[in-house]
């Protein structure tokens, strides 16, 4: 019964090797979609979901506590809040620059072309959305896995008491 725990690594040779090739490309592709999302399909939400797919893959294959990107529990919640704060902070920056909320033309950055300011503002809020979505998906995954593991441990304890 203990082997059913999802926090243990279940990768064999093929899974370990393939995820070593797959995950870096997933993360780099997520960053590409984030930064190139203005001119092509994509944006903050898709980039966050892709990066989260990479991290969840690592967690499922390498196991719970020894994986490379050990972002879990309260850390993920805090990072989701930080992502939302980046979004709101961009809006407040434009207010401090003398404009309206999310009025990118008023960003207090020494750039004179309006298009550059717009691109910078949209990139900043998309970074915020990316961090928030990534951490939220990791959080949902953590919740499912922890609840499953708690139930499994209870079952194991009950079995031990019965026998």
């Amino acid at each position: 019964m203990k082997n059913n725990s999802m926090k243990k690594a279940f990768g064999g040779l093929i899974l370990d090797t393939s995820f070593r090739i797959l995950v870096p490309f997933t993360l780099v592709y997520g960053m590409y979609i984030l930064t190139h999302g203005e001119y092509s399909p994509g944006g903050g939400f898709q980039a966050g979901a892709l990066v989260a797919v990479g991290i969840v893959l690592v967690r499922m294959i390498q196991g719970g506590d020894k994986d490379m990107f050990n972002v879990s529990g309260p850390m993920a919640v805090v990072c989701a809040g930080v992502g939302t704060f980046i979004y709101a902070g961009t809006g407040w920056l434009t207010i401090f620059g003398g404009g309206l909320f999310l009025d990118y033309g008023a960003l207090p950055v020494p750039m004179h072309h309006l298009a550059e300011l717009h691109a910078l503002g949209i990139l900043m809020i998309e970074i915020g959305v990316t961090v928030c979505v990534m951490m939220t998906i990791i959080n949902i995954m953590d919740a499912i896995i922890e609840r499953l593991d708690d139930d499994l441990e209870e079952e194991v304890e009950c079995d031990g008491n019965n026998h």
Partner: protein
Amino acid sequence: MQILIIEAILLLFLIFITVCIILNKDILACTIIYSAFSFCAVLTYFMFGSPDVAFTEAVIGTMSTIFFVAALKKIDRWCK
């Protein structure tokens, strides 16, 4: 005309997969067939000219399949 035929085939696939999911008793099989539904939905969105929605559906379809399979460890595989 050929694009119309391809779209019709994709939509028929979607209906067929949905009926398969409804009539199936095996929940794990339903999850896997649902990922096929997601793939056909991606192709349909792409044919109708919205690559943004198609990309989102592709990523979220993968995520939700992982979530469903993880949640399946809790409940019975067969529905009565």
